[in-house]
Symmetry: D2
Subunit: 340 residues, 4 copies
């Protein structure tokens, strides 16, 4: 269950305070140029400390590629990789050893496994997502050859829908996040993703619908609490006559006049842009005192300390892209088996 | 990809106008009483023609159980079942043979497979979901022994949030649907599901989070366009201090004071009610003329005819329950392998 | 675990004395003509009562195809099928209800599941293999388009290696089996299989080697106790210099001068004939008195009665072919995902 | 396809001359003491240069465990590990760059992937098996708690069946291998494995029979060409009356008087010793001149050079054990899902 995908498969491992995180990409098509600068740059997008919005911890997530590439090209054999953990302050976490932090996974992990690495969230740390970014980066390299692009961006912070130019949106976000930080609180929001130039025919009925795969992928990201596609929840009031996407001819090609469906019909891509949204809850770590219980069954108080991101939306953008890229490549490869 | 689940697995087959639909349930725990009346009653909940809200077609979905049960008890071997199709009017569909109906899967199936059974939607017909209901019914029988219940209900039709008593909600729904039917249109809405008394510890990090599994399951249902869990999209404006679920002791048991998370933390059930919602778009078949394209590349007009449900929400309720029941049982069984 | 394959997948169900056996073929490539006469003829090859070598029970294994085929062509959607059980004499088995027959699966099933359908072996009956023959028949239809053939034949009965013409071999086999039947005993032997014109490149390193897949497939057949490939156990005394298959050019094509490897090198097909053998033990049902234990822990005597095949090799031939055909088609489809 | 197992899963990566090999163990039960000395000692058993029988290359296969263990105990999260490659002489392989070595995987990899890491066999190197040994070592740690043991040993070198005491067998082996080395040739043989104290009930009918899983596992090892279980090919001449394992009571427990079946009946373990054999062909690298073809389609001569093991049986013993241990643990965990 630490493996994602059917043909293009990512298996990950690693805790936030262990020696390293890493993974294995299996099913990477052979003969793709392994652009290591691009892969590292994708990882860098996920790092904290890149702007005013995120904490200044200086994590250097340097990827080490261990296999599956020969003379700069993928060989079709599995790509192993690791990213070393540095900047450990494990002792900082001793106080949390027996505490169940509210809305974290401390309690559920303890109950499930009977043992857990409590340092920095262990396996439940969002640091795990860097492995997904690596898997997504390789998927993007393959999709690039097919002309498919995957892009995501923050569209909403809390109740505030971002508007205007990119710079204006950035400014709005910074203002909200600064305010939330000052309050010692945290905030969530929405990230929208778009897959463009997706070939027609991707998606495996009936349980492997492309939208089902995207939903499962997105909802596996830490703090994701909702997913919709096309007009989604915003379109709940629309009638069928308003929502149906009529087909038309465009330069002799079949297209839909509108795209309320978000590029997927009957679980299969129709060639239009695949548009989806992912809802993220506020991060549960806040700079306020909270009531909780410890593992010995005592009611205790959790004191706030340290520094934490009050909003992780910016850092989640490359993760959303990575998951989408892996799904699309996986289903592209699956679709090759539809006929002999 | 016509198989759902890891340990408890449902594989389905069948087109709406072929001889039969059916499936195989693999991984059903041995020693469970196979309450065939209950299973048939679940199927009956999905049938059309049960009230004012649905069409009067008289489909008799009689299940025939073919294996896996001996002297009334499940044996642990796979349960094969079929439901015969009756009331065929295949000739009705000749006119649609070459047409791509807007927001249906005609076009995407034709492009993916190069061939399709166009009669009544073929494999893409919602009739396929009756197999899910069978899979869910057996899952419920096993969950019943564990004290776990799964229930869903319609909470919203179009923009209208249902309120009041059950009877009042039913009346509101009927009024809206009658209106929509009179307009020759269709309407969607929202179904909410609740899993109660779920054991702590279900969910497989990191890609197999319980919420990810539920999302993938629900989004594989025909016409599902969105999913959220806990407070979901409605809670997007809440801060971390408002959303966090503090732990407390309740009769010596650890519980959360609130349940904004919807019963899942870090992808693992925490013992509170699992609350989720599924968004359904309006059914694409409407009683209005629509523009479209045929498979020869001609722009044509699709004339409305026949009778169709303008709203399938009521019929989707047992399907939502079935998918949830299968996920919960599957993850319950998976969780048994956490320790030796 | 009642599903076989990765892309081309067969899921089966059914007990020997239940209403029906059947299965679902998922991943069948779209656009293949579904030659139903061929499929039925493959099933007929597996039936008993076809010659002197097998019992005269008149099982009519009539296949009913329920989905996945439209206007005579596969549509890419799953193919459901059933074969009704007839000629039940379930009462015959009452005496065996509590007995553990030696070298049958009565004891292990009872211990594993706590319940079992004891009539005619239930799920463990070789009757289950007819579903494999259906899966194999469809695979052969697809392979036929690729020019690939799969053939098997009995090469050894007990210690006797069959020699001479087909008719002579048939005669030798009949003589041995008649002798064994007269003794109230049973006998096993060896079936050899050959896949010809297999494309180069099938096989997924490292755990999915083509030989590993074939071994797992063959060893899942009832009574199979051994498998080898190429020169196999007979070549154990040969040195590397004798076993190596040197490459050469043949009409400009690369071939191997010899084929000790059996058409697979490094787990991947090399284009030469894939040659393998499967060892079958004698069927455990014999017409002699045997000592055993019943489920209440009493030592008891099992009296022989009824009629049984003393040798099932002839009937196992189409099953060996079916399993091989499914593996080859599955790996052919997998191999299509090696590159974009 | 670089993943092995269902619940206990090993995913591996790495080429013989890349930076490192490694893998991820997923599904390791939580709460098992991670005896790192034992794990390293298992790896050491696989190393060359440990006796007269193997080459003197000094590979130091030092394992680095990266995750899944906290305070010396497994946490149930995936265990990532790497083993660095050292002692590279990649330049030695330049001459082989375009050559297809007889009975190696050079040709099939080139045809399948269009690109390959030719240095030392790349991914096809037996060096890959060290990852299996790690997976097997962790499995053994879990099985140890269940009282299950897995042991293998060489029983036959070429045609010579080893006899007498362990020391005598070692001496016989050394003599044969010395002789073969002097001839510049190589030799294969047979390894027998035994799983003792295996619980009753492991094995998933029908395709997941325990013997089928073991066969697939063993046949995925480099150079494995055959597998049998119980009396196997040696018992081909025996009748049913000789092969059947009668049940009896032993101290009130049900056992079989004989164990011709090799501990598995109907695909499910019956509590007796699981006995199987694996056939290995001679390694294809020999110190003799061979004819072959290069990738440009020229017939060429392959000159022998360097030092190579003429017999790898001794080194394959821990690999056979590892694969068996992983299968048994995997099926033990699967069997926990048979009932609720």
């Amino acid at each position: 269950m630490n493996t994602f995908g059917n043909i293009y498969r990512l298996t990950t491992f690693g805790e936030s305070h262990g020696p390293a995180l890493g993974g294995v990409i299996d099913g990477m098509p052979a003969g793709i140029v392994a652009d290591t600068e691009f892969i590292q740059s994708e990882l860098d997008r996920r790092r904290p400390g890149q702007g005013k919005l995120t904490t200044a911890r200086n994590e250097t997530d340097h990827i080490e590629l261990l296999s599956g590439i020969f003379e700069g090209v993928t060989t079709g054999t599995p790509i192993g990789f690791i990213v070393r953990n540095t900047d450990h302050h494990s002792a900082d976490y001793d106080a949390m050893k027996d505490l169940y932090r509210p809305s974290h996974a401390d309690y559920t992990y303890q109950m499930k496994y009977g043992v857990r690495d409590y340092r920095g969230g262990g396996r439940t740390s969002a640091r795990e997502t860097l492995c997904r970014v690596v898997g997504g980066a390789f998927a993007k390299l393959a999709l690039r050859q097919l002309g498919v692009t995957v892009e995501a961006h923050v569209t909403q912070v809390g109740k505030h829908i971002l508007t205007g130019s990119k710079d204006e949106q950035q400014k709005q976000m910074e203002e909200i996040v600064s305010q939330v930080r000052a309050e010692g609180d945290s905030i969530g929001g929405i990230i929208a993703g778009v897959v463009s130039h997706c070939p027609v025919g991707l998606g495996q009925p009936v349980f492997g619908k492309l939208n089902a795969a995207l939903a499962g992928a997105m909802m596996s990201i830490n703090a994701a609490k909702g997913f919709d596609i096309g007009d989604g929840f915003d379109g709940v009031g629309q009638k069928g006559s308003q929502m149906n996407d009529e087909f038309c001819l465009n330069d002799g090609q079949i297209h839909t006049r509108t795209n309320h469906s978000g590029g997927i019909q009957g679980g299969i891509s129709n060639g239009e842009d695949i548009r989806f949204r992912v809802l993220f809850k506020p991060v549960p770590t806040i700079m306020r005192q909270q009531n909780t219980v410890d593992k010995h069954g005592n009611e205790v108080t959790l004191e706030a300390k340290g520094r934490h991101d009050p909003c992780v939306l910016t850092r989640a953008v490359p993760i959303v892209e990575a998951m989408a890229a892996m799904v699309i490549l996986d289903y592209y490869l699956l679709n090759k088996t539809t006929t002999i």
